[in-house]
């Protein structure tokens, strides 16, 4: 059984390398992670840790010149079937992206197309994955209108259009009619109405105070916090089972960040989704995660439930990371040294040049994740890694 | 003493040059471009050796081997044959390379200098200075380049200097636009404001801080332009606006071949050498510089992005 019953996603021995002019960047080196159904997994790491690459690779969107060299990503779809994302072809991936797994990026104005209204962009997501549902609703509405005597020639034309779209979306007659300038708006009137209502509902769910203004606005007319809510709306429009969030609040003000974090937690309850939340902010991790994975220079170095991690950090990097944030009662110290160059990473354990507990063995042996207690794993030779 | 304490590793600018050369080596088209350009450069430098001028005469005037209007085909005496009026084609091509470089470099360098001054003022001070300078630029750009150059060349009278001047006047606006755009972009960066915070004068900021960051696109544009300038100059010469007949200039040579492009009824290619040979050299020159310019752009662009 590649996935346990309670697991939603499992990353196994993932290796991702970037082939650049300066050399081969060993961005992720044998990463192992599990995500249980319905939990929020926080991934914390700094620059070069590989956390963003991991998120993109889960969606099979590893940016070139990156290549997945090895490893598997097992994912349980909503119909119960387990697939290996690494081995899927583009056609199957299209069905998963946006529908089963969605991602929210750090820069909302990079995720939104400045040329299209916000409503159109959300509609695009809905049309990609929920067209059938929308068509059926539209057909129901036409039937209701005809019964109430509001039918007419236009209604019958719409009826024909929608049925045709359901049976044979690529038929020539359909394509012809859809190409006619004014006609194409008439024959899809109810469909667009229904999608618009759905979008307004979605925006309300995002706690946007005046969705009617926002739905017709361009991204630049909205503030950063609003834009990020729109991005979340797009991500959740098709009720994905797994939500990836790559530092979605890093560029937002503290007060807006607090609102968005609350929103994400509430939505997670409502949609019953599992969430992987990536950040470098330990405060956010403490607030939002059930379990935490700590990444350093392309390796997963520690995984534990959030309370356990803060109370009892085992890996020297985790300890040092906790000491480097200003906390009452904790020393405020930096970690000496710099993040390693991943073209020529240090031999053995990648953290050893900066580790105060490093031994000679650490320079030669690469530690692996071992279970130290019920739910606490560490990759460090100090604990038999 | 300081010199003992300071460890100077390999001069960083040499490291950069090596990086650029390495990237050029990796791309076959750019190697081809580099080879062609070097070929022409060597010809231009070695002109007196390859086609020794007759003492006492202006080396740019092509020696004549008679006065017959009918061009003669290549022979051991005239390796490329002769043109109408018996000008030695080989001599004309060799020294024509020098002329091509002369026009190309003069026009491009002068355009860059004028463009930098105007573009820097417009992009740095913005406001009304920017508006005025850019409208002047727009007016010149509104004319089709070749037509405007022709009109100016006619006004200045015939001659090589005249078309050089005409081309400079037509070419600088594009550089001014480019420099202005780069200046607008760079002056919004923090380090320019930081230079102001130190107390740098405007002059220092423009030349020491902004310009070195704006130079790469200029270099790329310049190398792509040398080919275009030479081509346009050849067009002007062909139309009779350039140097006098008998001057070693590719455009002039093609002009001399005007009546001989189609040969006799029996043999249409009887006089191919008078237009094919200068044509090929012109074509290769322009293409070589274009390839080099493309290669430079590919090399320099990611280097900028890398930073």
């Amino acid at each position: 059984m590649v996935l346990n019953d309670d697991e939603h996603l499992r990353i196994k021995d993932l290796v991702v390398r970037f082939y650049t002019y300066e050399g081969i960047v060993k961005a992720i080196e044998r990463a192992n992670l599990q995500l249980k159904k319905g939990e929020t997994l926080g991934i914390v790491g700094e620059t070069g840790s590989g956390k963003s690459v991991t998120a993109l690779t889960i969606m099979a969107l590893t940016p070139p010149p990156g290549k997945v060299e090895n490893g598997d990503i097992f994912f349980r779809k909503s119909d119960g079937k387990v697939v290996n994302i690494i081995k899927l072809n583009e056609h199957e991936l299209l069905k998963i992206r946006g529908k089963e797994i969605s991602i929210i990026f750090q820069e909302p104005n990079a995720a939104l197309n400045p040329l299209y209204r916000v409503g159109e962009q959300i509609a695009e997501a809905i049309f990609s994955h929920r067209l059938k549902e929308m068509l059926e609703k539209a057909i129901q509405r036409i039937q209701r209108d005809i019964k109430n005597g509001n039918g007419g020639f236009a209604a019958r034309l719409e009826f024909w259009t929608y049925n045709k779209m359901l049976e044979n979306p690529n038929s020539i007659s359909l394509r012809f009619v859809k190409g006619l300038p004014i006609i194409k708006n008439i024959i899809t009137r109810r469909l667009r109405q229904i999608v618009r209502e759905e979008i307004i509902e979605l925006l309300r769910l995002m706690e946007i105070p005046d969705p009617y203004r926002v739905v017709d606005a361009y991204p630049h007319e909205l503030s950063g916090g609003m834009q990020q809510r729109v991005v979340i709306a797009i991500a959740l429009s098709c009720s994905p089972a797994l939500l990836l969030a790559d530092e979605p609040t890093t560029n937002l003000d503290v007060t807006v960040q607090a609102q968005i974090l609350d929103l994400i937690m509430r939505l997670k309850q409502r949609f019953g989704a599992s969430v992987i939340y990536i950040t470098h902010d330990m405060g956010v991790i403490a607030e939002i995660s059930d379990r935490v994975a700590v990444m350093y220079a392309g390796n997963v170095v520690e995984v534990a439930p959030v309370k356990e991690l803060f109370k009892n950090p085992l890996h020297p990097y985790t300890k040092a990371l906790l000491e480097s944030i200003p906390r009452p009662g904790s020393p405020f110290k930096s970690i000496p040294g710099v993040v390693p160059n991943l073209v020529n990473p240090p031999s053995g354990c990648r953290f050893h040049p900066r580790c105060q507990y490093a031994t000679e063995e650490c320079k030669h042996k690469v530690p692996v994740l071992v279970k130290v207690s019920e739910d606490h794993q560490v990759a460090c030779l100090l604990y038999g890694g | 003493m300081l010199s003992k304490k300071v460890v100077k590793e390999e001069n960083p600018r040499i490291k950069e040059l090596k990086f650029v050369l390495r990237r050029i080596k990796e791309n076959p088209l750019s190697i081809a471009g580099l080879v062609i350009v070097m070929f022409f450069t060597i010809i231009a430098i070695a002109a007196p050796l390859l086609a020794p001028p007759i003492a006492g005469r202006d080396p740019y005037m092509i020696p004549r081997y008679g006065y017959s209007p009918i061009p003669k085909p290549p022979s051991p005496e005239n390796p490329f044959g002769t043109t109408q009026g018996q000008y030695d084609l080989y001599y004309g091509i060799i020294w024509g390379t020098r002329t091509a470089y002369r026009i190309g470099i003069l026009v491009v360098v002068a355009s860059i200098l004028i463009g930098i001054v105007i573009g820097a003022l417009a992009g740095y001070y913005k406001g009304i200075i920017d508006e005025v300078l850019m409208r002047v630029t727009d007016i010149i750009l509104a004319f089709p380049a070749l037509i405007l150059a022709m009109a100016l060349a006619v006004a200045f009278g015939p001659g090589l200097d005249s078309i050089t001047l005409a081309l400079i006047l037509v070419w600088w606006p594009a550089y001014a636009r480019l420099v202005r755009g780069e200046f607008l972009r760079i002056t919004s960066e923090d380090f320019v404001e930081a230079a102001k915070a130190i107390g740098c004068s405007d002059f220092r900021i423009i030349f020491r801080h902004v310009l070195p960051n704006a130079i790469f696109p200029l270099i790329v544009m310049a190398s792509l332009d040398i080919g275009s300038v030479v081509l346009t100059a050849a067009a002007l010469s062909f139309l009779g606006l350039g140097p006098p007949e008998g001057y070693a200039d590719w455009g002039q040579l093609i002009s001399l071949s005007r009546n001989w492009i189609i040969g006799t009824a029996q043999n249409p290619f009887a006089y191919w050498h008078v237009w094919v040979i200068p044509g090929i050299f012109l074509f290769l020159f322009v293409m070589g510089w274009n390839m080099l310019g493309d290669a430079l752009r590919d090399v320099l662009d990611p280097m900028i992005r890398r930073r």
């Binding site: 105070p209 916090g225 403490a286 944030i325 | 300081l2 923090d190 404001e193 230079a195 740098c200 801080h209």
Partner: protein, 337 residues
Amino acid sequence: MGNIIATLGLRKYFPIRGGIFGRKVGEVKAVDGVNLSIRKGETFGLVGESGCGKTTLGKTIIRLLDPDSGKIFFDPDGSLPEDLQNKDNFDNLDIARIKGGKLKKLRRYMQIVYQNPSTSLNPRMLVKDIVSEPLIVQGICKGREAEERTLKMLEQVGLSSEHLYRYPHEFSGGQRQRIAIARALITHPKFVVLDEPTSSVDVSVRASLINLFKDLQQTMGLTYLFISHDLSIIEAISDRVAVMYLGKIIEFADSKELFKNPLHPYTKELFSAIPIPDPEIRRKRITLKGEPPSPANPPKGCRFHPRCPYAKDVCGQDEPKLLELKAGHYVACHLYG
């Protein structure tokens, strides 16, 4: 110890241009009447969210931007008195409108460190040139002597001679920030504006930069204006802290006092929004309705009143003044008088 900087009614507006001819159609009131005084040798923290005007205030004080009205008193010896409202004989120390050579001389004593070290260093200049440029531009020294001072300064910030002949892009974020610090401090300024200097740097490196700032403050006798939106860093380094909202200072106190006892509703909300790095503690969050308004159209009366859970009628009409509620703790809120 007296004050080294004092501002009186400082205002900085940015015009909003619109229409075909770029006419001025409005103004962004980035800094709208700020009175503050900074003591010699202290670290003065300035917090607020984006759009509150804190960066504009910092840059205006050191004359990187020209104020639209108000006075900025600067006394490098630090003997400005507390209350300048009614004294006219300090006008010779008013730097709000000086220009030309006098302004250039001023730059020696007031410097700034920017947030993003990747964009605040000229990518085409060697480190040694970047750091020694202030010496040359200010005419302090040049040549061999400048090189020696540059090396000494680099060593003070934790770099070494091997870094002299390199370009900024060859360094990590933390190291680049140190280069920027060296550049700012090489002329031995008296007053330094630190504009979010640790925000673009990895979390694990921030502590060493903060310690560096503290050390340098001691050895070089510096006064800092530390601007940040990261409240935990502000708490760690500041002596006194001011909170800005939409161009005005709305609360101001000693650092410990402010964090223990925030009075203004906005300050309370701001502090409650910080995620606490301890999973055992659940944040008691005060969430506000609505979005922060734009500084082009600040609300009438108290600027915070549309979002304030305690707003009364008077809040929509009169702008509250900054009043001293307890010793050293000032608030601008009608709740307190």
